[in-house]
């Protein structure tokens, strides 16, 4: 029953409004509703109510307060200082270091997470034996509790850890992986190890949704594997690439969990991330700085996501994925 219904669901249901009116127009275009449509609208709005109420209470309203906090001088006197908190924040050396480190980490980690997981997906897609077992293995990092991940990474990368023991066997000098420049690479490995499996599944799903006929025709026409990849597959994958990129961006912020447990409140300079800054500001109860930083982070995220959307709609413009 389930299989059957799923096959029927493969294609999104065609919406007659989609065909003529552009998304932008649709957003500002209001056609009169029939009585039936209005009934559906009101009846289904009731289903939205609990979620919207909770979201407004726990996220929406307090965020308005956060904006307010960012614009006043302190919670007691409430004098409006407009952008002063933001200027002070941008001049704060700890914030600048944290922002730089976080940006540098994400700029490298996100593309790596996208490309490597796509390669893994194509690897498992190439009809090798045991592919479904491999898929489970690649997903296994999702299960391991954060604390034991940290424990094992310590055992491997500690100054007296397993990796240095291995290096010593080959006569190489030991490296203090966790307390030097190298800790960036350790965290990068940790991030990739944790996230590649899930990203890979997203890509496997997208790869299996590419119409087989197009690939067959291209083979008959004498299209090489590389050409096939860049001219056809990449087009169909574009919306998944966007999704994986955004997901990886979110997860690159989440890596703080492990960094925090590995290195504590004040790690080596190279790993002092925005989340450390937020945490430490939180402890000192500096609401103004905290609110300004939260808003700045939110703005940057919105801009990055907007840009990614634009890129995707440009590349995927002539395929309906």
């Amino acid at each position: 029953m389930k299989r059957l219904s799923l096959r029927g669901l493969k294609k999104p249901r065609p919406d007659p409004a989609d065909e003529q009116i552009s998304p932008m127009r649709r957003l500002f275009h209001r056609s009169p509703l029939s009585a039936r449509e209005r009934r559906i609208k009101h009846a289904s709005a009731a289903f939205l109510a609990p979620s919207i109420a909770g979201t407004l209470l726990f996220f929406g309203m307090p965020f308005v307060v956060v904006i307010y906090y960012a614009l006043v001088d302190n919670p007691i006197s409430h004098n409006f200082v407009f952008l002063n908190n933001f200027i002070a924040l941008l001049n704060n050396t700890a914030f600048r270091l944290a922002a730089k480190n976080t940006a540098m980490f994400s700029v490298v980690a996100v593309p790596l997470a996208v490309v490597l997981s796509l390669l893994l997906a194509m690897l498992l897609d190439s009809r090798i034996p045991l592919a479904s077992q491999f898929r489970t293995f690649f997903l296994s990092p999702m299960m391991v509790p954060v604390a034991s991940v940290v424990l094992i990474f310590q055992v491997i990368f500690h100054f007296n850890g397993a990796l240095n023991a291995l290096l010593a066997r080959f006569g190489l000098a030991p490296i203090d992986w966790l307390k030097s420049e190298y800790n960036r690479y350790v965290v990068m490995i940790l991030f990739l190890w944790k996230n590649l499996g899930y990203n890979m599944i997203l890509f496997m799903a997208a790869l299996s949704n590419i119409p087989a006929e197009i690939l067959e025709v291209s083979t008959i026409e004498g299209c090489g594997a590389l050409r096939k990849f860049f001219a056809i597959k990449l087009r169909y994958l574009s919306s998944t690439i966007l999704f994986v990129a955004i997901l990886s961006l979110i997860n690159s912020f989440k890596v703080f969990r492990e960094v925090y447990l590995l290195t504590g409140d004040y790690p080596y300079d190279g790993l002092y991330l925005l989340q450390h800054f937020m945490n430490n500001t939180f402890k000192s109860l500096d609401y103004q700085r905290l609110s300004a930083a939260a808003i700045l982070m939110a703005l940057v995220m919105i801009i990055i996501i907007g840009v990614l959307f634009l890129i995707e709609s440009y590349y995927g413009r002539d395929v309906e994925g």
Binding site: L48, V144, N160, M278, N279
Partner: protein, 300 residues
Amino acid sequence: MRTPSPHRLRKNLTRAILFVIAAVFAIIFLLPTILTISNSFMTATEITANYGKIFQNVSGGSKKFISETVNLKFIPDRVSFSQYATVLIKSPAYLLKFWNSVILVVPIVIFQVLVASFAAYGFARYKGRLREIIFFSYIILMLMPYQVTLVPNYLVSKWLHILDTRWAIILTGIFSPLSVFILTKYMRRIPVSYVEAAKLDGANEWQIFTKLFFPLSGGVLYSVAILVFIDYWNMVEQPIVLLSDSELHPLSVFLSKINSGEVGLAFAVATIYMIPTLLMFLHGEEHLVEGITYSGGIKG
């Protein structure tokens, strides 16, 4: 005729090479899981003998490379359940923290999926301008790093006087937007014709939801539940910020604090902690993949 063509041969060779690459990656990916489980069956003395060097001079901070390093071992000298005995019988603190995790995470998973499935039905059933804008703000909220939503969460918990109680984590967890997003994406693919048929049979909105949309989304609901469960089962930031009383902390937070003292126990506790996730995984991996499949692509 019988000998394989050179083309065929090359194809098989490529596949063999790809298989080896996949196998190497798989081993690297499995390594920490295997290490955690196998080390949980070692005795405390064996663990100390293997890893003690790391955790002894943690406080000293000496950068001296001592010639004895850790001894990474996969197979215990003698399979022992002494760690498990300690965790399960001698020190009830761990079980208490495990219970803390359960009573935080189970309500979050159940109510988040429930509230989200209602909302997803609302988003899927009718597409209007206002609803599109609301849905888009859910996406934006979903994409915010935890450190951004932490400030609002903290403030509202303080106003409602639920700070430092479990409600602070449970209530904010229930309204996390990820499951709304995935479920909406899925429910929007349920054909209108099904709804029309149900209407002809005299079904009202509530019946369409409970008899049609909810059962049809079974697999995706399960996959969302697994994702939410994994996320909250491993939470660290939320309890640290919202719960100052460490008695109430879940095992995921507590586990990170026993690293230095009782390394041996940590592996056994971690293994026990992995069991619920493992069971959900083994039981629902197909659903997980299915759920992910339909959430691919962020638009719409």
